[in-house]
């Protein structure tokens, strides 16, 4: 049950190991993880690095809300969200979302749900460094559409 905002890198394998561990009788059959990387090309330009800014306090609160909502909607035994902040280089890891469940469908859906809402709700902003200088990344309509598909109407 981990939500972390940090400048340091993370070890996806260690996080999957932590999600896999359980009391006797409760070993989850399925662990799904998403690892996001800094792309080195965006909109036709070479990206050297990016800086991630966030809203300390609100970020952790939103990430916990997203994780709690996932745990309320699916039978998941553990969930982890890690997001890095500060300056990152191309190919660096940015984000890890993972969860464990007795059921693979639940693990896949909950992980995807957490990523979709992290993209629209968690207060992080990316500034990309390209050959043309540093620019704030625009939000994408496709991310709002991805989050909207989970609404229960």
């Amino acid at each position: 049950m981990t939500v972390r905002v940090q400048t340091e890198d993370f070890d996806a394998g260690a996080e999957i190991g932590a999600l896999s561990s359980a009391e006797p009788g409760a070993i989850p059959g399925a662990v799904v993880s998403f690892t996001g990387l800094v792309r080195d090309r965006h909109g036709g330009k070479i990206v050297h690095a990016m800086t991630l800014e966030h809203y300390p306090g609100m970020t952790e609160k939103e990430l916990m809300r997203i994780r709690d909502e996932a745990m309320a909607r699916w039978p998941i035994t553990k969930a982890t969200i890690i997001h890095r902040v500060g300056r990152l280089l191309a190919a660096d890891q940015i984000v890890f979302v993972g969860c464990a469940s007795p059921h693979r469908d639940a693990a896949f859906e909950a992980a995807r749900f957490m990523m979709d809402f992290l993209k629209t709700d968690a207060p992080f902003w990316k500034a990309e460094e390209t050959e043309d200088g540093t620019q704030w990344v625009d939000a994408r309509d496709s991310d709002n559409a991805a989050a909207a598909r989970w609404s229960k109407d």
Binding site: Y55, H83, F124, W125, D138
Partner: protein, 83 residues
């Protein structure tokens, strides 16, 4: 109140945090925005198009008609782009 700005709004305004006394005529987020637009050209620019501005009061997303009081932390920021 504490007013916070992030990303390009912070750059337009030139500060990430302002501490102000809430004027009496400011009772909602919309009132606060009208007030802030008069503070400087940077404020006016940052708050010119509310379509691309999100507002949080006390670290919860909220709408323009939300009520405010003097102890609130109000944050303005662009649509988020993490992940």
């Amino acid at each position: 109140m504490r007013i916070m700005y992030f990303a390009w709004m912070r750059e337009h305004i030139g500060a990430s945090l302002e501490q102000i006394d809430k004027p009496d005529h400011v009772t909602t987020v919309a009132d606060l925005i009208s007030h802030l637009r008069g503070v400087s050209a940077g404020h006016a620019l940052a708050l010119s198009n509310m379509e691309v501005v999100r507002v949080a009061v006390n670290q919860n997303y909220t709408s323009l008609d939300a009520p405010l009081n003097d102890q609130d932390e109000v944050a303005f920021f662009p649509p988020v782009t993490g992940g």
